[in-house]
């Protein structure tokens, strides 16, 4: 009676193995059902890694770190330091335990980054980090979700319960809409039926995206299916089987990329799906080759660099508790591995300087930078937080 999937899970328990083979294209799935942008096979499947605009020197690196509480559960103190010569040096935030930076999930520049800190109750506090001297912070704004995105004018889209709230730069609400609900359906996992099923109309925002035209998109999921909605233009398309979305990003050409587990496939590896934002069409599906075949996977990120295209970063621990890390670079058809130290951290950020910054988790108070031109990865002593703390977010703006 034991399913194949369960047998695989048990057989591989105790060993983390990020398999790095078979990183090729899986399918060319064509238009998603219900797409309003027209049918036909997408034509952007064979592009090379995005190389859009030259990198510019970094202006400031903001490091957010926490001092763990002496015993759990308790609030942790959160600090923000900007190096060098930044605008928010020494700001101290309290009563927050987990910090996730909203990814600057587009290659184009962002005038404002939104830092979110989460207290242990899971409520979000949004703090605007200004650039070029225009610093500001707005703390204490709570929400029941962790997903938001900053617009070019400094406004904010965020999910609050079953709705999406639109805020202006001073955090005044200017709009409210329902979360676009994906199609209901019986759940599947790794190609096998499970008892998971989602009630109709349930859905949550997995990611917000901003296209090159400035439109804001919501990528929603209900655990079984997904939806891509252009919130600016009021258009949407269904994304069948986009049920477990880990992250998304965009490039300057109007393509979006979604990191997810394809619930229709009998595989345990994560895939990257390509979407055409303007046409609201799905494109090629690429297998990262990264999966959880034992041990633990602590985090996995999809990143967009300016000169080196798509990146996937995965970190976890093996059965013995030793940290493992894998950085992959998309070559247009598959993923190549970039060597990084195993204990670099569980999270990654790409800066406007096109470097990859690795931090958090086993990285402790350290920030490791990766130069993709040379392949060199090293701890940056200037960015390191005090001993005993944990870096939770890095902005390079």
């Amino acid at each position: 009676m034991m399913s194949r999937m369960k047998a695989v899970h048990i057989a591989f328990a105790g060993l983390l193995a990020f398999s790095l083979t078979a990183c090729g294209s899986l399918s060319e799935s064509g238009a998603a059902s219900g797409a309003q942008g027209g049918g036909g096979r997408p034509e952007f499947a064979s592009h090379a890694a995005s190389a859009v605009t030259p990198a510019r020197p970094r202006t400031a690196v903001t490091v957010v770190y926490v001092v763990p509480p002496p015993r759990q559960p308790a609030d942790a103190d959160v600090f923000v330091q900007t190096v060098p010569g930044g605008t928010l040096g020494g700001v101290r935030l309290t009563q927050a335990i987990n910090v996730r930076a909203t990814p600057l999930n587009r290659v184009s520049d962002s005038s404002t980054a939104i830092l979110q800190t989460f207290d242990y109750a899971g409520r979000a506090r949004a703090i605007g980090l200004g650039l070029a001297g225009n610093s500001s912070s707005v703390a204490g704004r709570t929400a029941t979700t962790s997903v938001s995105i900053a617009t070019d004018d400094g406004g904010l889209y965020r999910q609050v319960g079953a709705q999406i709230e639109v805020l202006d730069p001073s955090f005044r609400r200017t709009g409210l809409m329902n979360v676009p609900a994906p199609l209901p359906g019986a759940g599947t996992q790794d190609g096998q039926p499970t008892k998971r099923a989602i009630r109709a109309s349930s859905g949550e925002v997995a990611a917000f995206l901003i296209g090159p035209d400035g439109h804001v998109y919501a990528l929603t999921t209900n655990g079984v299916n997904g939806t891509l909605a252009d919130l600016t233009a009021g258009r949407r398309t269904e994304l069948p089987a986009y049920g477990q979305i880990l992250g998304a990003t965009t490039d300057a050409e109007g393509r979006a990329y979604v990191l997810m587990r394809d619930v229709r496939l009998s595989r345990n590896t994560f895939v990257v799906a390509e979407l055409d934002l303007a046409a609201l069409r799905t494109g090629t599906l690429y297998d990262t080759g990264v999966g959880v075949t034992g041990g633990t996977l602590d985090d996995i990120s999809l990143l967009a660099s300016r000169q080196h295209g798509l990146l996937v970063y995965a970190a976890g621990h093996d059965a013995g508790g030793a940290p493992r890390a894998t950085l992959l670079r998309f070559n247009g058809t598959s993923f190549d591995q970039v060597a990084v130290p195993a204990a670099s951290g569980s999270r990654a950020t790409v800066g406007v300087d096109d470097r990859v910054y690795l931090y958090s988790g086993p990285g402790g108070n350290r920030v490791t930078t990766v130069d993709l031109d040379t392949g060199r990865a090293a701890v940056d002593p200037v960015l390191s937080a005090p001993e005993g703390t944990f870096v939770m977010a890095v902005f390079v703006l």
Partner: protein, 250 residues
């Protein structure tokens, strides 16, 4: 009449699919559950109640005894509770089951726990037999955050709140969870019976609340219920004193 005929035809088709999948060994028989009310086909049958708000902990006394399970090697019947995320893709679960488990064929009702998050596939652990014909405590409790892995720590308890509990999970997504309690089975003909008394509790930031109508109103929350049509209930009480007794029919 046409509707009935169509419904029966649909049920027959679904049954045929079920039989086929069982024959090929493809059907999933896991104890984890995410199934709010849905008219769509799911492999398992269930009755349950759940909240709309998020909580740090959930505590219940389940009457633990021996439901009739036709084939202990392939089928199960259980009671469980599990805080979960809104999409249901992440949860921590604890309860008792009788019948099939991936690590054990439970001739007598036994403890089990399950975890899944957005990067970790379904994991189930099976444990020793539960005390029979008595109320046994079950609890899922958020206890902290692991900065080395960036995951929330949840501990589950069964029969005793003594540390270190039944098992400790780390979950990437579940800082708080929507509460859910109920029963589930994976086959027609099995009994699905449960009694959750004398207390059924929800916790926020260290404070426990009785899961009652009054508490729901106080917390601005609502309790939702669902009994799949396949579950014929002979007795069903909700909220703090949650009881059900039924048999699954085709």
């Amino acid at each position: 009449v046409d509707c009935v005929i169509r419904s029966r035809a649909l049920i027959a088709i679904i049954a045929a699919v079920l039989v086929t999948m069982t024959a090929t060994g493809a059907a999933e028989a896991s104890h984890s559950a995410w199934a709010h009310c849905s008219s769509h086909w799911v492999p398992n049958r269930y009755t349950r109640q759940w909240t709309n708000n998020f909580y740090h902990g959930q505590f219940s006394w389940f009457w633990t005894y021996q439901p009739a399970v036709q084939n202990l090697n392939t089928q199960f019947s259980l009671n469980h509770l599990y805080p979960h995320t809104n999409s249901g893709t992440s949860f921590v679960e604890v309860g008792w089951y009788r019948g099939f488990g991936p690590e054990k064929i439970a001739v007598n009702s036994s403890f089990y726990t399950v975890m899944q998050d957005s990067v970790t596939p379904y994991q189930e652990k099976n444990f020793q037999d539960a005390p029979q014909n008595t109320f046994v405590l079950y609890e899922a409790q958020y206890i902290g955050f692991n900065f080395s892995t960036n995951k929330y720590i949840w501990r589950v308890y069964a029969n005793s709140q003594a540390e270190p509990g039944l098992w400790t999970w780390e979950n990437r997504d579940l800082g708080m969870g929507k509460a859910i309690s109920g029963g589930e089975t994976n086959a027609n003909g099995n009994q699905m019976i449960g009694r959750i008394v004398p207390s059924h509790l929800l916790q926020i930031s260290g404070t426990w609340y009785n899961w009652t109508d009054a508490t729901m109103a106080q917390l601005g929350d609502s309790t939702f219920i669902c009994d799949q049509p396949n579950v014929v209930l002979t007795y069903n009480v909700r909220f703090d004193d949650y009881q059900f007794n039924g048999t699954v029919v085709p």
